[in-house]
């Protein structure tokens, strides 16, 4: 197991390093001069030149990459030239919105999907199963931003139960903050729940067709016990895979939902920074997200190995 973990860690680090090079290189291709963008179309050439110098944009490419990487290694994410503050501070501010949002959405989606998956699998072919699967199909097809706007019209404008968007900050108290994350979390969770419940259902059905299930049934165990004790544990591997992917998606892929609800999260930070060519912010945040995705996958890998001893030996 130790060998397995070390080997995996090496792969994680290598992936991260390659990702950092790709991200850095791609951002250099983006056309446009950040200094000109900041100063606008009336700026004189010497003002733009002075700003370029101030922002350190004149340093050679290689030097800038080395500076950035060596900073990252000691936890310094660089300096945002549009916000005039450390990127680390920006990330710290934004993660207090994005992380709770992702966690709430993930919890909601899991709480909905797993029971629905189990319930429909155990009633395969019945009218309940068919209609539940039809609903999940719609859930997958509906774009989450459209669903978000619908939620806003019903719960914020008509019923006025929650704000239409924005985030008041955790310092205003737990409830006002949670209230403003409720609609975005639901909008994010439902399409995910639709996918997850289908995966749970089919994984469970597949397991139910295995020989050992038939054996369990043959030795006289009641259907319920077979489902909960034998099938469910084995069906969990594909479910875990999807959960890992979904968490990564929820953390990184909320750009659209954060825009619809104008939440100050990481997705919106990336969006704004790309528009302003604030490359230091973009590259640092993207590397951070890549790192979190890789790390989640690493955890999922470990969970597999824990569940299935054969994987440990293969590495």
């Amino acid at each position: 197991m130790a060998y397995f973990i070390v080997r995996r860690m090496m792969i994680v680090l290598l992936t991260l390093w390659v990702a950092s090079i790709i991200i850095f290189a791609m951002l250099q291709i983006i056309p446009g001069d950040p200094a000109q963008l900041m100063l606008g179309i009336n700026a004189t050439d010497d003002a733009v030149a002075a700003l370029r110098e101030q922002l350190g944009l004149n340093a050679p490419l290689f030097e800038r990459y080395i500076n950035w990487m060596s900073g990252m290694l000691i936890g310094d994410f660089g300096y945002s030239y549009t916000y005039g503050t450390a990127v680390g501070n920006l990330i710290a501010e934004r993660i207090t919105v994005s992380l709770p949002l992702a966690l709430i959405a993930l919890a909601l989606s899991t709480l909905i999907a797993i029971p629905v998956g189990i319930f429909t699998a155990s009633r395969r072919g019945t009218a309940t199963d068919t209609s539940a699967m039809a609903i999940t199909q719609i859930g997958i097809a509906i774009p989450n931003f459209w669903f978000a706007i619908l939620l806003v019209y019903v719960f914020a404008i008509t019923l006025r139960l929650v704000p239409a968007g924005g985030f008041p900050g955790w310092e205003t108290g737990l409830w006002p903050a949670l209230k403003s994350l409720l609609l975005p979390a639901i909008a994010l969770a439902l399409p995910q729940a639709a996918i997850l419940s289908r995966v749970t259902r089919s994984a469970l059905l597949e397991t139910m067709a295995e020989d050992y299930i038939r054996t369990a049934r043959a030795k006289g165990l009641p259907a319920r016990r077979v489902l909960w004790h034998h099938a469910l544990r084995n069906a969990f591997i594909p479910v875990l895979t999807i959960l890992g992917l979904q968490f990564a998606f929820l953390l990184a892929g909320t750009i659209i939902i954060e825009n619809v609800f104008y939440l100050p999260g990481l997705g919106r930070l990336i969006f704004q920074s790309i528009q302003r060519l604030d490359l230091m912010v973009v590259q640092s945040v993207v590397v951070l997200l890549v790192a979190s995705v890789i790390f989640i996958n690493f955890l999922v890998d470990l969970a597999y190995a824990w569940a299935d001893p054969r994987l440990r030996r293969q590495g």
Partner: protein, 492 residues
């Protein structure tokens, strides 16, 4: 079933407490873009001025709601007969938000900083006429110009010319320290900026305790935020499609004003075939402005025929100089030797006036034989390719700087217009201080660029103001980029 009443009761309590809290000394204003920093002397983004202008920072002069120059930190001034020496008498008792006092040395510092060699002021040209700035007393500043400048007092009213203190100038970007009636309370990056009333303000106290600017980029979200009451004013709503809905709703006031944004089909005057005035005139005849305003802007916008704001007293109505007439356009093209048609590109920056307007313009020009390939660009690309590189045939852009007809006199400006007569006119304008004479020169300038059909002048961008019907004092037009809330209050 006792749970339900409890939940409902709880919800009602939350609802009532939040509406009770809103005993109106506060205001939340919606804006599309978040300012990158809060120092108006350090960057061009309009969003900076839209938060801090007149609210947090003040200059020697300021521009009022009608576009006129008014005293601000200078309570009055005298101008020498040769127009070269301006003596400003400053306010006494004005203080910066950090408690340091405002005096003549701050003015000297601010102006010298803005025009210094290594200055990164986005509008450095505003200060180019200044030769020296001297404090001749605690409250007297003498500015000497190298040549007369008719627009000097106006220039000093721009957000880029506000007065800052040496102690705080370098940190204004994050923590703005001005002399205005509001000071920064909190900036939740990516979300909102809150200003609170400055109790030590030298002039009339603001009528609101707190003003929050909330940043909502999505048009549907902006509409929802107004409807839900999360924001009470959107001085320029990004959703023209929702204006009719708000007009029908008695809870809201809709005020369609004018901005300084002349939206033009900018034309590369040095690139064949657009170097031919007949081709440019043909384009002007081929375009139906009202159709563009209706189709791209939901009917909101004023057709223009020159590069000047219709609300300006010196404006000349020239929008019918080249009436919509495709046959005439074809005839002009044939005269210029392009019966066979023209192929060209149309590079479009991201705003919807450009992207939606571009589609309509391309189809109107196709009707007269000008075939356009549409190329959408991001702002960074647009600045690089079109504005700096001058690598374009046609583009659509809104020039939002106030009173900027002088760009037609600039050497090497991106649309590459060169006319010595026009340059001479602007030179004369720069040294003319008398208002009537200046207006006459502005009128001549408008006529020249329209005769030369430098660009196709489409429409003045509208300012789609929507706010709570009980709110008073917000500006109808935006003669400068500002959301001046110093005079805003709630009626009972």
């Amino acid at each position: 079933m006792t749970i339900r009443p409890i939940i409902l009761g709880g919800l009602a309590a939350i609802l009532f407490s939040s509406s009770a809290l809103a005993a109106r000394m506060d205001l939340t204003i919606g804006m599309v873009l978040e300012p990158p920093g809060l120092d108006p002397t350090a960057e061009a983004a309009a969003a900076v001025d839209e938060v801090v202008y007149a609210n947090v920072f003040e200059g020697l002069t300021r521009i009022g709601p009608e576009g006129a120059v008014k005293p601000a930190l200078a309570k009055n001034w005298t101008i020498s007969d040769d127009g070269l020496t301006y003596t400003f008498e400053l306010r006494e008792g004005a203080k910066f938000h950090d408690g340091t006092s405002f005096d003549a040395s701050d003015v000297v510092f601010s102006l010298d900083r803005a025009r210094a060699e290594d200055s990164t002021n986005a509008q450095k040209a505003l200060f180019s006429a200044i030769e020296k700035v001297e404090a001749t007393g605690d409250t007297t500043v003498v500015v000497t110009l190298s040549e007369p400048s008719g627009a000097f007092l106006y220039n000093m009213g721009w957000g880029d010319a506000v007065i800052v203190a040496p102690e705080s100038a370098d940190t204004n970007k994050e923590n703005p320290v001005g002399t205005g009636p509001f000071k920064l309370d909190n900036w939740q990056r990516g979300s909102a900026i809150t200003l609170t009333r400055n109790a030590d303000y030298w002039g009339d106290q603001a009528k609101l305790d707190t003003v929050t600017f909330r940043f909502i980029p999505d048009p549907a979200a902006a509409t929802a935020a107004l409807l839900a009451g999360d924001v009470q004013a959107f001085p320029n709503l990004p959703a023209p499609e929702a204006i009719a809905q708000f007009e029908a709703d008695p809870r809201f006031t809709v005020v369609i004003g004018s901005t300084e944004g002349e939206t033009i089909l900018s034309t590369n005057n040095k690139k064949p075939p657009f170097d031919d005035v007949n081709v440019r005139r043909a384009m002007a005849h081929a375009i139906d402005r009202q159709a563009i305003i209706d189709g791209a802007m939901f009917g909101l916008g004023t057709p223009i025929g020159t590069h000047f704001a219709p609300h300006n007293p010196a404006y000349v109505e020239l929008s019918e100089t080249y009436e919509f007439n495709p046959e005439k356009a074809k005839a002009l093209l044939a005269e210029a030797g392009f019966e066979g048609g023209i192929k060209a590109t149309l590079k479009l920056p991201p705003p919807s006036y450009a992207r939606r307007g571009g589609e309509i313009i391309a189809s109107q020009l196709r009707d007269v034989g000008i075939d356009l390939e549409i190329i959408p660009l991001e702002w960074g690309q647009w600045l690089e390719q079109v504005f700096k590189g001058k690598d374009f045939d046609l583009t659509i852009v809104s020039h939002t700087e106030p009173n900027d007809i002088d760009i037609y006199a600039r050497d090497d400006y991106y649309f590459q217009y060169e006319n010595p007569d026009f340059k001479a006119l602007i030179d004369k304008l720069n040294v003319t201080a008398d208002e009537e004479e200046r207006f006459a020169l502005y009128r001549q300038a408008q006529q020249i660029i329209t005769d030369d059909a430098v660009n196709v002048y489409l429409f003045q961008l509208a300012k789609n103001g929507v706010w709570d019907a009980k709110l008073n004092g917000l500006w109808e037009n935006s003669p400068v980029q500002a959301n001046d809330v110093t005079g805003v209050s709630w009626s009972e």
